[in-house]
């Protein structure tokens, strides 16, 4: 068995012993992308509404069902447009991911999620009402006519059904009862749902019938979106996995229920990754190849080695501790904006709870020299303090301070008084927070009240 050390040895005393990086950092986020992206989203929304408006004439509003059919087109087209934005958000376009981080993208995806689905359901209902009024028939009767009489409407109806199911299982209360894999498989059908509904939009939409230009533009925009998804969700991870050829060389217990997986690979000196980032890992064994899980890199790459650290909280992480050396590993990423690029100020304070220490450990290694990091680590028991010696060394070499807060959650907590005492100048520092969701939420709120502006607070939460 190889013994790889990710430890920073406290080399010759007196010298600055911050070790050199052995691989490049991830590219810095480009701030100008944000306003441009927001402007583009708005532009698309306006154009979509414009398409609906120009397809109508005032007289149509006077005709029976006219208002309903117009509203139906509007909700349908705007709903499809928002669905497109949702797909783009989750496609992890690198320039945007660097800016928001994967959890930022997922956050927006969740917040926006209810809109396209409700608009598209409203579209189906309103259009049917409109046609029923126009044809002067009953609503129930018209449902049959609309679904079976129009071209591509049967598949579009199936698509809407899939979409509603996928939306329902994403409601927090229901999602928490499902395994991650079940949810993911159901959620994946959203892509199918969108593909199925595409044809009826083009064939029946008043904005597209008889308007070849709009048809082309709409189709091209969707084709481009599909291309973005295929490139960034499929091709890029495959290319990266093949380039780095990672395989497991060692499973090392770090603490009760915590193991590090040490992988070796080729060309890791070219892997652009920053401390604090994570990958989605796919271990290519019989039972695990089909699921990818996000785990933090717990140290900067030491070519040819890479280390991730996993806490045993579920079936997958338990299986990780039983991985055999030699297992091939596919990766997606690196992801996350919880990096040195987020730092705006000279100095920083890093706060971690539980297994949050893993991301914090690699971030600490990557912080610039002048950061003088104050590191606060919270754990319930002494033996849960993972990487204790590594963190101590890193803090020392960067002329920072380490505070370990050990004890039961209700007794030893990170509250206002503790923070004021340990970090009197917190208002002038960047604050990095990493840990379980509720911990991160609490600390974000707390430092907000302590006067740290929003742009200086960076966090990464682990959802278990």
């Amino acid at each position: 068995m190889v013994s790889v050390t990710f430890h920073t040895p406290s080399s010759k005393p007196g010298t600055s012993n911050v070790p050199e990086r052995r691989s490049p950092p991830s590219p810095a986020p480009q701030a100008w992308i944000r306003p441009v992206a927001l402007l583009l989203v708005g532009l698309g929304l306006g154009a979509t509404v414009g398409l609906t408006l120009t397809a109508e004439t005032m007289s149509q509003f006077d005709a029976p069902g006219g208002v309903a059919i117009f509203l139906g087109s509007l909700t349908g087209l705007v709903g499809m447009y928002l669905a497109l934005v949702m797909v783009l958000l989750i496609s992890r376009i690198p320039v945007i991911e660097r800016l928001l981080g994967l959890d930022g993208l997922v956050g927006w995806h969740r917040r926006l999620g209810p809109w396209p689905v409700s608009l598209l359901v409203a579209h189906a209902v309103i259009v049917t009402i409109g046609y029923a009024q126009a044809a002067k028939t009953g609503l129930i009767h018209e449902v049959g006519t609309v679904v079976t009489g129009f071209p591509f409407m049967i598949i579009a109806t199936v698509g809407l059904g899939l979409m509603v199911i996928a939306a329902i299982v994403s409601i927090r209360a229901i999602r928490s009862r499902l395994s991650r894999e079940t949810w993911w498989l159901i959620h994946l059908s959203m892509y199918l749902a969108l593909a199925l509904s595409f044809a009826h939009v083009i064939a029946l939409g008043p904005s597209f019938v008889g308007h070849p230009v709009t048809r082309w533009v709409w189709s091209l925009v969707w084709a481009a979106t599909a291309g973005v998804v295929i490139v960034y969700r499929f091709c890029l991870p495959v290319v990266r996995s093949l380039r780095y050829r990672l395989k497991v060389v060692e499973i090392r217990p770090e603490a009760p229920g915590v193991v590090s997986v040490i992988c070796s690979g080729r060309h890791l000196e070219r892997m652009a990754v920053s401390g604090g980032q994570f990958f989605s890992w796919r271990f290519l064994t019989r039972g695990m190849w089909w699921q990818a899980h996000p785990y933090s890199m717990s140290a900067l790459p030491r070519p040819p080695y890479l280390r991730l650290t996993v806490k045993n909280v579920g079936d997958h992480s338990a299986a990780v501790s039983r991985l055999k050396p030699g297992t091939r590993v596919a990766i997606e990423g690196p992801y996350g904006s919880f990096t040195r690029h987020a730092q705006h100020r000279q100095t920083a304070v890093l706060i971690a709870a539980g297994i949050g220490i893993t991301a914090l450990r690699s971030l600490l290694e990557d912080l610039p020299n002048g950061a003088r990091p104050i590191v606060i680590v919270r754990a319930s028991r002494e033996e849960d303090l993972v990487f204790r010696s590594e963190v101590t060394e890193l803090v020392k070499s960067r002329k920072g301070k380490l505070h370990e807060l050990v004890g039961p959650r209700h007794k030893v907590l990170v509250d206002r008084r503790t923070l004021m005492k340990l970090v009197p100048d917190i208002g002038r520092r960047d604050v990095y927070i990493c840990g379980p969701e509720h911990f991160v939420a609490d600390i974000v709120e707390l430092v907000g009240r302590l006067g740290v502006p929003e742009e200086a607070v960076h966090h990464e939460a682990f959802s278990l």
């Binding site: 306003p35 927001l38 402007l39 583009l40 989203v41 708005g42 532009l43 698309g44 929304l45 306006g46 154009a47 979509t48 509404v49 414009g50 398409l51 408006l53 120009t54 397809a55 109508e56 004439t57 005032m58 007289s59 149509q60 509003f61 006077d62 005709a63 029976p64 069902g65 006219g66 059919i69 117009f70 409109g130 046609y131 009024q133 126009a134 044809a135 009489g149 129009f150 071209p151 008043p206 019938v209 008889g210 308007h211 709009t214």
Partner: protein, 172 residues
């Protein structure tokens, strides 16, 4: 909120661009404003798609003589029934032409000699809508009718063709 204002600015620009660039489809306007606007359009460029295909006043009833009583049952002085077919109009979902019969100064009969649609639904829709349009025109005795929503393309093609046919007959 800077984010929101950027989105709003983008949306307004996008909306303006589409509304500005997108000429409202030429036939759609003919409808609703009724005969008047349609008449105006007719004078400049009567039918965009095809030149008037059918013969001018086809004196409908086979009788060669001029005053043929069209409705012998009525006690009113007999009027001549004349008919004309408007040019075939292509609309997004198919092609149609309208044949109108005018007796005296009344529209008495409307048919659609040409009706081809792209697919079955449009056929159904046309079959449903054209009788409604016929009834409306016969009732209004003009093109001042409401469109049928959900069938605006069919209806505007109908109106354009009918308008040309009526013009052939010098119907007011």
């Amino acid at each position: 909120m800077r984010r929101l204002s950027l989105i709003v600015v983008g949306a307004v620009a996008g909306l303006a661009a589409v509304v500005g660039l997108h000429p409202t489809s030429s036939t759609a306007n003919a409808l609703g404003t009724g005969g008047q606007a349609a008449g105006g359009r007719g004078t400049t460029n009567p039918t965009t798609t095809t030149p008037p295909t059918t013969t001018p006043p086809t004196t409908a009833p086979a009788a060669p003589a001029t005053p043929t009583p069209a409705a012998p049952s009525t006690t009113a002085p007999a009027a001549v029934a004349r008919s004309s077919t408007g040019p075939a109009q292509q609309y997004g979902y198919g092609t149609l032409s309208v044949k109108v019969t005018v007796t005296g100064n009344r529209i008495t009969k409307i048919t659609t000699p040409t009706l081809q649609t792209a697919e079955q639904y449009s056929q159904q829709l046309a079959a449903q809508v054209i009788p409604m349009l016929n009834a409306e025109v016969l009732k209004a005795q003009s093109l001042n009718i409401n469109g049928i929503s959900g069938a605006s393309y069919t209806a505007s093609a109908y109106v354009t063709s009918l308008q040309a046919a009526l013009k052939n007959l010098n119907f007011p």
